[in-house]
Amino acid sequence: MTSGRVRGVVAVGTHLPHWRLQRSAASAVLGSSQGKGTRTVASYDEDALTMSVEAARRALRSAVAGTVPVGSLWFTTSTPTYLDKTSATIAHAALRLPPEVPAADALGPRGAGMALCGALRSDEPVLVLAGDVRSGPAGSPEDREGGDAGAAVLVGSSEDGPLVGEYLGGASATREFLDRWRVPGEQRTRAWEERFGQQRYDELAGAAWDAALKDAGLDVDQVATVAMSAPHARAGAGLRKRLGAAGVDVVGDLRDRVGFTGAAHPLLLLATLLEVAEPGQVVGLIALADGADVFLFRAGEGTPASPTSAEQLDAGDDSLTYARALSWRGVLPVQPPNRPEPPRMSASAAERRLDWKYGFVGSRDRSSGAVHLPPARVSFVGGHTDDMDPAPMADVPATVATFTVDGLAWSPSPPVVFAVCDFEGGGRLPVELTDVRPDDVSIGMPVEMTFRRLTTADGIANYFWKARPAGGRAAGRPAGDAPGGH
């Protein structure tokens, strides 16, 4: 922290899925209390990667972040798309990062903390993405207390622009012990008796906290608020008590409305901290995951990404039925329409149109201005050949020109809601809608593009874009039918 060049958070973005499950809905099905409040549920076309990409798009859209040259990208999750393939490169493509920027996965619950540590110690802008889909057998702790989310942090230096969080110092503590584990391919997370983990976490969290204060040269009473990400309620309880006694405000960990979002949770909490902190306030993030990572920041003048996590919390639709939530995770398989399943995508065809498929970049004819989605070589207006510029459309608003609901087409969650979407400034694409109930679609409805996982075939996840109602329009809708209707 010398010579005026301060490391810190340039931007944070979050993605909370549109769909929420009231835990009482699960209680009604299972016949035993599944707790209060709601959890977020990734839609059938979302996964850790898509949610992370959505969060990163928001972070990078903030005025400052858009100009920062990202030096490297880390993607962390406990629910990766692939094992023998990197998922981060898909985010790299969706975010249209240049080829010289490396992208890699950091798997497991500790990934976010470690990636953040590394980013803060680096001397280049680093983009850290985290996402997780927490599920398990019906009624399991992950099903009940888990949540799904994506979060992204762009770490850089004060030279990159006003920081939303200036890094003051931090520390880690690590010791091998067994608390929670899930075997690759298994649906269920197993757990040791929590009281054992509680004791280990108390020791590790306490040690890391003390070391972090020392590293930052701070006394505890200089810290305004902290957030603690912990795999279960007992983990970190001792430190929480200590901090409370010292007058530090320990903010809620979103368990009541989001759930514990696993690998995404530390960055999700960091975002909520920085979104509400007053400039100058010191905030702390304590991430407990097979060890403890503590980070101390001074809130800066930078503006949070839009929509904030609070805004997303207030939007969304909590009328999701428990059966549908389980079916989306494969816990409750449902009968698909009697139509052929989609074939796997072609790797070479996808790579040829990388910027279209992952970046949603069309082309614009130089002479007529006509936008082509997908990009074309010959213009449909005037017929000029190879006279087009790239037309990035992912952030361009659109409206519904006409629409239909297809109850016959194959879908992981029928029916397919489909609309012909016209983009502001030109361009049309007939495309699937998502995060919407069939009855809520109307001609003229404003929509925005969102990166989704359409299907999976032969183990290949097919990512592309869909449209969804702009700006969480479904907010405040009374509970009713399940999404997708009948």
Binding site: N338, R339, P340, P342, P343, M345, S346, A349, A350, R352, R353, W356, K357, A370, V371, H372, L373, P374, A376, F380, A401, T402, F403, T404, V405, D406, G407, L408, A409, W410, V416, F418, V420, D422, G426, G427, R428, L429, P430, V431, E432, I443, L454, T455, N462, Y463, F464
Partner: protein
């Protein structure tokens, strides 16, 4: 440069058409043998007398061998063609041009589709390897986009439009009920159709074409040779085809209330045939009623109704069997069924029967004296479509 057509230069002198059914007991080979056999008998010739063959099948077989093998042809050219749901018309069009060119004396066009061996409902296209960004909507849903767009543009109450569409289906069911070769032979009233649950947009299964197996064939010769085979040949007046460039999917100006490809194909065909007032000059038209909104919009694209007026004409019975211009007197795709590669030839088969006065009494049209019939066959979806229009007559000149 120009589209000149081959008016009155070639004639159809024999046709065959299998019943369109769920032919669980018949394969592609059987259907081909049946349809060609009937066509040969109709023309009074034997298979070896045909000099060249065109086979239309969308996905029941590849290459000319799909036809040559079951018929055991000896040293004859067979061209397999595919052009979406207009495949049968494409085979016919090529056979006509081959004869008109003087390359062959006798050509035969055959269309076949064995759709019921897939194990799935509806029609399903071969997956061509792609980047995974193509939409995967059903045809029903793509065509369902037309209904709300039409209602909005012309200020038709959606409930009213629902009844108009049901009336189209009901008419085609009534016609099909009188046709022993049709797949569905049950009359359906408008209220019953309106009461069906929707499966795609406002469309129910009764707004969709029947999915059937079937085959049809046509024997084509030079017009001057036609009377060697039959006293009542049917002459080619016009053949037109437009392959859309898909701009409807890109162009925000396209409004889903018309099919420009069909309009253009019709204009070309009318010019070739010298038709200026199709509603009054045609005795009948067989149109591609894959879904009820398609038939509605086609009445305008083909010039039978003014823009925005087809829904009223449909309601007024203009296109009924004994209306001003009978449309789909054989039941259409809706009731006759839609074996993709065969449908274009099936349409011609109805014109063949009606223009020769051979249609059964109960569905014989009153307008035969006009002497001209139109077949319209499309493939694809609103926004990216291929369209065929053929005009046929029972006399030259």
């Amino acid at each position: 440069m120009g589209s000149h057509g081959i008016r009155d230069r070639v004639a159809i002198v024999g046709m065959g058409c299998t019943p369109f059914r769920e032919h669980w007991d018949r394969g592609t080979d059987d259907l081909v043998v049946d349809a060609v056999g009937e066509g040969m008998r109709s023309a009074g010739i034997e298979v070896p007398e045909v000099d060249a063959w065109w086979l239309g099948t969308a996905q029941s077989g590849m290459s000319g061998i799909t036809l040559a093998a079951p018929l055991k042809l000896e040293g004859k050219p067979v061209t397999r063609v595919e052009n979406y749901c207009a495949t049968g018309s494409e085979a016919l069009r090529q056979a006509c041009y081959a004869v008109a060119s003087g390359a062959y004396d006798v050509a035969c066009a055959v269309g076949v589709e064995k759709v019921k061996d897939s194990g799935f409902q509806g029609l399903n296209a071969f997956p061509i390897p792609n980047d995974g960004t193509n939409r995967t909507l059903t045809a029903a849903a793509m065509f369902s986009l037309v209904a709300p767009a039409y209602a909005e543009r012309y200020g038709v109450d959606p409930g009213e439009l629902r009844r108009v569409l049901a009336r189209i289906a009901s008419k085609n069911h009534a016609n099909g009920a009188k046709n022993p070769r049709a797949q569905f032979r049950r009359e359906m009233d408008v209220d019953a159709i309106c009461a069906m649950p929707s499966v795609a947009g406002m469309l129910s299964v009764f707004d969709c074409a029947g999915v059937a197996d079937g085959a049809a064939s046509a024997v084509v010769v030079r017009a001057e040779d036609a009377h060697r085979y039959t006293d009542t040949p049917i002459y080619v007046k016009a053949l037109s085809f437009v392959a859309g460039n898909g701009s409807g999917l890109l162009d925000p100006d396209y409004d889903y209330t018309h099919f420009p490809e069909c309009e253009a194909a019709a204009q070309d065909a009318y010019a070739q045939a010298g038709v200026t007032d199709p509603r009054r000059e045609l005795a009948l038209a067989e149109v591609h009623d894959c879904f009820t909104p398609t038939e509605l919009v086609l009445m305008e694209d083909l010039g039978f109704s003014a823009r925005g007026e087809a829904w009223k004409d449909c309601e007024a019975g203009v296109f009924d069997l004994h209306g001003e211009l009978p449309i789909n007197s054989d039941g259409g795709l809706k009731s006759f069924g839609h074996p993709v590669g065969a449908s274009g030839l099936r349409m011609l088969f109805e014109c063949w029967l009606q223009l020769r006065g051979e249609a059964p009494e109960e569905r014989r049209i009153d307008t035969v004296d006009r002497g001209l019939a139109l077949t319209h066959n499309l493939g694809g979806y609103p926004g990216e479509m291929v369209s065929f229009v053929g005009i046929w007559g029972n006399r030259t000149g």
